[in-house]
């Protein structure tokens, strides 16, 4: 098991606001991946607020940094950020998973402005990102490619096939982030499929790798604005997070990975936890 000690300060107003957007979508859809979304909020917030270059009114701007949420089930976190940045109206969030909404339970490219690749089946984002990074190298483009994966997702063999490839090519424009919330659907990752020693694995695949408190905004900002970790290798960042972060009765609970029949009381309790409606 990792020896990393998180130093998370209390969630600030922006983190609470973004979580409120997520709860609005959960209320609208009556369902969603709760734990796996809440662990992602600060990682995505820092990427979108402080790190990535993009144009909400021109989602296909060629020089944009590419972002792939490979753990597509955490999409509500990305939807909250995309709405916040103006890629689409925030009102769409409350229509989450409706028949005629473009916001489904996993993100789809071509439907949602700002989504580069359709994900949901796990282990697809990194190979696609490797292709994108290779394309950028061939075309001598300067943009970077950020991929966020779940810890459980890294059980997939395709992740390590792609890691081999990224390491072989020394794709320094590629930044892999793992939302290490230590819980997968069935239970603790250390019981279901232990990935430790996690940092060593990435280093063995020729990545420059480090770890960070995935809820500490200033630590994330410091780290992510100084990419790459090494000039000639891809970067891997293990983000230590808490599943369900910010909603105390869901924190660290595998049974809150996904809920499909959320009750009004549960929704109200979630709003209470994030500062009210």
């Amino acid at each position: 098991m990792t020896n990393f000690t998180p130093t998370t300060p209390p969630l600030d107003a922006r983190s609470l606001t973004l979580r409120r957007r997520v709860v609005e979508a959960l209320e609208g859809g009556g369902r969603g991946h709760i734990g796996s979304t809440m662990s992602l909020i600060e990682i995505l917030r820092v990427l979108y607020d402080d790190v990535m270059h993009y144009r909400p009114d021109e989602p296909s701007w060629p020089n944009r940094d590419r972002f792939i949420l490979s753990k597509g089930h955490g999409c509500l976190a990305q939807y909250a950020l995309l709405a916040d940045k103006g890629f689409f109206p925030a009102s769409e969030l409350t229509r989450f998973c409706r028949r005629d909404s473009f916001l489904g339970g996993h993100p789809e490219a071509g439907k949602i402005p700002g989504v580069e690749a359709s994900t949901g089946a796990l282990g697809h984002g990194l190979p696609i990102a490797v292709g994108m990074a290779l394309a950028a190298r061939i075309k001598k483009d300067e943009h970077r490619i950020f991929v966020v994966m779940g810890d459980g997702e890294t059980n997939e063999g395709s992740v390590w096939e792609a890691a081999l490839c990224a390491g072989k090519h020394g794709l320094s424009k590629l930044v892999v982030m793992v939302d290490y919330n230590k819980l997968q659907s069935y239970g603790p990752t250390c019981d279901v499929q232990d990935m430790e020693p996690f940092l060593d694995k990435w280093r063995a695949f020729n990545f420059a790798a480090t770890e960070v408190d995935g809820h500490n905004v200033s630590a994330l900002r410091r780290l992510l604005t100084s990419m790459p970790l090494a000039p000639d290798r891809p970067s891997a960042i293990i983000c230590h997070t808490v599943k369900g972060k910010g909603i105390p009765f869901t924190e660290g609970r595998a049974d809150w990975h996904h809920k499909s029949r959320l009750t009004p009381d549960e929704i109200a309790a979630m709003f209470d936890a994030v500062g009210g409606r």
């Binding site: 490797v130 292709g131 395709s158």
Partner: protein
């Protein structure tokens, strides 16, 4: 056929900077000339098919037209989800050059046979499935692959197959080729079965039984109009394919006929491989013999069917 397909990738790369090649762990020297001329557009990524299909998707999202090559079942079985989601769902122009379609690798056993590849590729939305009859036709196909929308599954034959196609008949992806004008017996073929069908038809013609032949190199999208037109007056339709009898050409033709000729459905004889992993080795030819796909056996099957039709 494989050499032509790969040489054509190099040719296409010369005229279009979007063309890029990815191989798995192919034979030493594969496409050396392209590697030397365009080192930034030639990649040999090792035995990790899920990854190289996903990589191709990423390259295609950035404007490249990736041509991939590995052995057929390593595409269709190993990387099926990547093909379905990364390529088909995103409708990306990635070309899968699939070595050893059907029973080409007979001596290597069932792990290397592609007996259900057409069925599984045909099931995927946005996928195009092509099996040409010889190396000349492969050249004509490859010339059209640059701007075809969405992914293409290109099924390769053994190589050294007799040339039975004819440039004068033209070639368009998705369009059937009439090889012999339809009569009341209609043979529908794909891949190298065209050559066997021509031989079978010659044998039957010598007895006074004329057969029309329509070559369906593109199994998806199937040229339904051509099939329906050719089959409208047929008293027997015969499909011939190097593939299990379920899910491939025969199934596609039956679906088309059932949808298009509901009250006039002619008898359909589907010739192909049984629903089983072959238990024998030998060669592609000996497997054809075991499963009734030699020209003599095809002609015999048609004679028997005509007695019943």
């Amino acid at each position: 056929m494989r050499k032509i397909a790969l040489d054509m990738v190099h040719e296409l790369a010369k005229k279009d900077p979007r063309v890029i090649f990815l191989g798995s762990d192919l034979g030493a020297g594969t496409l050396d000339k392209m590697r030397q001329e365009f080192p930034e557009r030639f990649y040999m990524e090792g035995i990790c098919e899920a990854n190289f299909v996903g990589m191709a998707a990423g390259l295609a999202m950035e404007g490249f037209i990736p041509y991939l090559n590995t052995i057929a079942p390593f595409f269709t079985r190993r990387a099926f989800e990547q093909i379905a989601i990364d390529l088909c769902l995103h409708k990306l122009p990635v070309r899968l050059i699939s070595s050893g379609g059907g029973v080409v690798y007979a001596p290597l056993g069932p792990t290397h046979l592609a007996i259900e590849d057409i069925a599984v590729m045909r099931a995927l939305p946005n996928m195009t499935v092509v099996a040409v009859s010889d190396a000349d036709e492969m050249r004509r196909l490859m010339e059209q692959t640059l701007d075809w929308p969405g992914p293409i599954y290109i099924r390769l034959a053994k190589g050294g197959d007799p040339i039975v196609s004819d440039a004068k008949r033209g070639f368009t992806i998705g369009k059937a080729i009439t090889v012999r004008e339809p009569s009341d017996i209609l043979l529908l073929t794909t891949g190298v079965m065209l050559g066997r069908a021509v031989e079978a038809a010659d044998s039957l013609a010598s007895e006074g039984t004329e057969c029309g032949i329509v070559h369906l190199h593109t199994i998806k999208p199937l040229d339904s109009a051509a099939v329906l037109k050719a089959a409208a007056k047929a008293r027997l339709v015969v499909t011939i394919e190097e593939h299990i009898r379920s899910g491939g050409l025969g199934s596609a033709v039956l679906e088309t006929l059932a949808d298009g000729l509901p009250s006039l459905l002619p008898p359909v004889l589907r010739l192909g491989l049984p629903d089983a992993f072959p238990k024998e080795y030998g060669s592609q030819e000996t497997m054809f013999d075991s499963f009734g796909l030699t020209p003599t056996q095809i002609a015999d099957a048609i004679r028997h069917a005509l007695v019943r039709a």
